[in-house]
């Protein structure tokens, strides 16, 4: 990562919402509501900021998932509601406010202060 020269922006991600029961999912559910079974064509989609609170974060010391070890991996409670699991930057720990930025067509959660538009 070239942190000094690349402006980094908060990623927006697609979220689905079930009009029956309000169930929210990130990434957006494309197969049907996991709570009530509502069909995918009935689900609403919207984009939300990949922004939230790191609830639990671990250091992974083996190249599990094809990433160079060590790396950080965490459970992020998005402000929009859903919990996601994703790569985190080394500075992220439990209780840190984080935003998601693009990394190699995937997502990396970085501490909020480190992202220009955060």
């Amino acid at each position: 990562m070239n942190e000094a020269t690349t402006p980094r922006h908060t990623l927006r991600v697609t979220m689905s919402r079930c009009p029956n029961d309000g169930e929210l999912a990130v990434p957006a559910d494309t197969l049907g509501c996991r709570r009530c079974g509502n069909e995918p064509s009935h689900l609403e989609t919207m984009t939300v900021d990949a922004r939230g609170l790191a609830e639990a974060v671990i250091t992974v010391n083996r190249p599990i998932g094809g990433h160079e070890a060590p790396y950080r991996f965490g459970e992020i409670r998005l402000d929009a509601g859903p919990m996601v699991r994703a790569l985190c930057s080394p500075a992220v720990s439990a209780g840190t406010r984080v935003v998601g930025i693009e990394l190699d067509e995937s997502i990396l959660f970085e501490i909020e202060e480190a992202v220009v538009d955060a």
Partner: protein, 377 residues
């Protein structure tokens, strides 16, 4: 519902992958179970073949070598809970009166097969999310935050289970390990070292499940009978994302199985539990309600779950110590419970064991629990 018994048990040792064909492993376990129960193969009315990794249609080419039989074969794949699910089906089949004698054979050799979730695009951002070790390392982290469980608490589970495994000739564990050795071992993910993650190898385990009628007809009738008192097999319902699905499944499944058995968790003398990762043992014991609220780690430290303690947990060594060959694992748990309830477990015998509980979680998630009791048949 009729009374249902485990009539015979048998297993191979679990090990790292070898050149031994799966059929040889399976036949070794099943022949041992038939000998143990004193019943001929031709009396078996259905065979469940529990396997998740080995291949398609592995049953008949193996079972054919027990001699000609046209009894139905049913393959059961339910991830780590494949063997337990097969036993639950055998239990229901005998209880309902549909069959008097049913065989369950769990056999696997480790291979890479895609898991369902990885075949569904868009369900996940990160491939890592599907790696069980990361899920459970995060679970350990959450319990640390919420309950104050420490790395030592998790390490003590590994010390106990590798210690038990050292007394079990069927185990894959290299031997006992000290608390210091576990704590000094490199952490793979989060707080988990290799001693706190189960080895996945190969092996086979078999049980014969039958009616009181089948017990009377078996030449193994001199053996102490073990009755299956109750069972529960469930899958993951919608669970709020603030909860951990495997823990909620365990809570529900244990209640259901104990209720059918007419027993309380406090009646249970010996448990074989899904400890694929050390944190799971404490989390699931807590969910089963074996300790007063917040006390499970303290009870573990006080030795309550050791052999000779108030309830021996995974005297076989569990998945951490005995190993986790996937298809056979839940069947191997029942081999251990039956051996314990017969009072034949030797150095790892839980004194006075009368009631046993076996618990497996499978990827998905699914959960299967059985309750057993030593019975005079």
């Amino acid at each position: 519902m009729r009374d249902v018994f485990v009539i015979g048990v048998g297993m191979t040792a679990y090990s790292k992958p070898t050149a031994t064909p799966y059929a040889e492993l399976g036949l070794t376990a099943l022949r041992a179970a038939l000998r143990d129960g004193g019943v001929p193969w031709t009396d078996v009315q259905t065979t469940y073949v529990a396997s998740a990794l080995t291949g398609v249609a592995i049953g008949q080419p193996m079972l054919a070598h027990l001699g000609s039989s046209s009894a139905p074969i049913c393959h059961v794949e339910n991830a780590s809970a494949s063997g337990s699910t097969a036993i639950e089906r055998a239990f229901r089949q005998v209880a309902s009166g549909e069959a008097d004698l049913v065989a369950v054979i769990g056999v696997d050799k480790p291979t890479q097969r895609p898991i369902g979730e990885s075949l569904i695009s868009g369900g996940s951002w990160a491939e890592e999310e599907l790696a069980p070790i990361l899920r459970f390392a995060l679970m350990a982290e959450r319990y640390s935050q919420d309950r104050g469980w420490t790395r030592e608490d998790y390490a003590r589970v590994a010390v106990k289970n590798h210690g038990n495994a050292a007394l079990n000739p069927a185990s894959q564990s290299p031997g006992p390990v000290s608390l210091e050795e576990v704590l000094e071992s490199p952490q793979i993910a989060g707080m988990l070292s290799r001693y706190e993650c189960c080895p996945v190898g190969e092996g086979a385990a078999a049980v014969l499940v039958g009616s009181a009628e089948a017990v009377r007809h078996s030449a193994g009738g001199a053996r102490p009978a073990v009755r299956i008192l109750g069972a529960s097999a469930i899958s993951e319902p919608f669970v709020e994302s603030t909860l951990i699905p495997e823990v909620e499944l365990t809570r529900i499944s244990a209640v259901q199985a104990l209720e059918e058995a007419g027993r309380s968790i406090h009646d249970v003398d010996v448990i074989e539990l899904h400890d694929a990762f050390a944190v799971e043992e404490l989390a699931y014991l807590e969910a089963m309600g074996i300790s007063a609220d917040g006390d499970v780690a303290r009870d573990a430290m006080a030795g309550h779950f050791d052999i000779g303690g108030r309830c021996a947990v995974s005297p076989s060594g569990g998945l951490l110590g005995m190993g986790h060959p996937i298809g056979p694992t839940g069947v191997g748990q029942v081999v251990e419970i039956v051996t314990q309830l017969r009072g034949e477990a030797g150095d790892r015998q839980q004194p006075g064991a009368r009631v046993g509980l076996a618990h497996m979680v499978g990827l998905g998630a699914v959960c299967v629990t059985h309750v057993f009791e030593a019975a005079q048949a």
